[in-house]
């Protein structure tokens, strides 16, 4: 295809040339314009060779099928890598973030179409049996595997309360107005709270650590605050202008407490 396209201008140029040969009476300038219009390129351009160059080879993305039909796969195996959804995940398959299709069960890969589900889409599925045909008949029970093994539940071994050295493994510190804290015996015979329990303590205080739930909220707040500030400054400037020079004296806003204090001081 590419070669065909590349040949196009040459053919056009050829035809242009032939017309030049026939039409002897036409003025030379007109002939030149004609050939330019028809896309003729001269040797000086052709020698540069730029327009005929193929694009450089980039890093290969290694897309395509990684498993063929009826091939055995285990969960997590990549079946197909693609850009966009050439294939859709069907039975026992999932699609990853970059449209890669992974197997979710051990079985055999099937490439199929399911007109009942979607008229145009192509699906990749995994069946437990090699002979199974996808899609499964409609209204048939789903084929599922347990994928688990049975084990005896080990009874919990009771931890002795007292350590061999005669002191308890853990003690509870009860402080009034504080949550109870469990201190455990360490290797160096000290009692200390578990680090993860210390971390949990923050929740009991009811402190609000973050003023904003999200970063977006914070930025929105900052933007609003700035706008308010600018608006206030603008208004203040306007007021100053209105009042003129004689009203430059600024009355400082005093809190009630400060006013009271000033009054007291004045009385003395």
């Amino acid at each position: 295809m590419r070669s065909l396209i590349a040949q196009r201008p040459i053919m056009a140029a050829l035809s242009g040339l032939s017309r030049v040969c026939i039409n002897r009476t036409a003025p030379i300038g007109a002939q030149l314009a004609n050939s330019l219009v028809q896309g003729q390129r001269y040797a000086s351009v052709k020698s540069q060779g730029a327009y005929k160059k193929k694009s450089k080879r980039g890093i290969p993305k290694k897309l395509g099928a990684k498993r063929t039909g009826d091939q055995y796969v285990i969960p997590g195996n990549i079946i197909y890598k693609q850009r966009g959804t050439l294939w859709w995940p069907g039975e026992n398959c999932i699609m990853g973030r970059d449209f890669t299709i992974h197997a979710m069960a051990t079985g055999y890969v099937k490439y199929y179409r399911d007109p009942a589900r979607h008229p145009d889409r192509k699906y990749i599925g995994v069946t437990f049996e090699k002979d199974d045909v996808l899609p499964y008949p409609a209204h048939a029970e789903r084929k599922r595997k347990l994928g688990r093994t049975a084990h005896q539940i080990r009874p919990e071994v009771a931890q002795p309360e007292i350590s061999p050295s005669g002191i308890p493994f853990q003690i509870t510190r009860v402080e009034k107005g504080e949550p109870d804290r469990l201190l455990r015996l360490r290797k160096d015979y000290s009692y200390r709270e578990d680090n993860w329990r210390i971390g949990r303590l923050v929740q009991t205080t009811g402190l609000k650590i973050k003023r904003f739930r999200t970063r977006k909220q914070y930025f929105r707040h900052r933007r609003w605050r700035r706008e308010r500030e600018i608006e206030g400054q603008r208004k203040a400037a306007q007021r100053r202008e209105e009042l003129g020079d004689d009203a430059v004296k600024v009355v400082k806003q005093l809190s009630k407490k400060a006013l009271k204090k000033a009054k007291k001081a004045g009385r003395k």
Binding site: R239, E242, L243, G244, A247, V251
Partner: protein
């Protein structure tokens, strides 16, 4: 509801026009009343020259409004106004509202059905009359259906030997901005 809502801006209208025509001092007064500035500011404002603050009128008086001004204004108001608030009523009031609403729907439906019935009746009457004409032969030695054919002719409907005015115009995809240029002279 929407029609009520569209009346929102109308109360403001005379006030604005009054402001535009009246003296500027009074026009500033309501604005001053609403302001929250301190007494210091108002004092200073009194001292400031009146010419500096208020004389610049909001709209120049000689400005000509187009004849569609009022219509455009109402259109704009209704186009860009927010949706009316939802109805909030107590239970029994809502039930009464619902009753009235249902009755209104029923009433309109009955009206529509009645007009439709009437139209069907008229149409059927016309159809029967035409059938009658089609079957009749005469007057004189005219063949059967002569009267029907004559009745179906559209001659003279738009004037003597005339064609409908729509066909006199060059047919376009969309209507012209002005329907008919009455001032045109050869």
């Amino acid at each position: 509801m929407a029609s009520l809502f569209s009346l929102r801006g109308l109360s403001r209208q005379p006030l604005l026009s009054g402001v535009a025509s009246s003296v500027t001092h009074t026009s500033m007064a309501p604005i001053r009343l609403l302001s929250t500035t301190t007494t210091l500011l108002s004092k200073a404002a009194k001292r400031a020259k009146a010419a500096k603050i208020g004389v610049t009128p909001r709209r120049n008086k000689g400005h000509q409004r187009s004849e569609f001004y009022a219509r455009v204004k109402i259109l704009k108001q209704n186009l860009f106004s927010p949706a009316p608030p939802p109805l909030r009523m107590a239970r029994l009031r809502y039930l009464r509202h619902w009753t009235i609403h249902r009755a209104w729907l029923l009433f309109r439906r009955q009206q529509k059905e009645a007009t439709h019935k009437e139209r069907v009746r008229i149409n059927a009457g016309m159809f029967n009359a035409c059938e009658e004409l089609r079957k009749v032969s005469g007057p004189g030695d005219r063949s059967e259906g002569y009267l029907y054919r004559v009745a179906m002719e559209k001659k003279g409907v738009w004037g003597l030997n005339a064609v409908p005015i729509e066909y006199a115009r060059f047919q376009t995809d969309s209507p012209a901005t002005t329907a008919w240029n009455h001032d045109w002279k050869r």
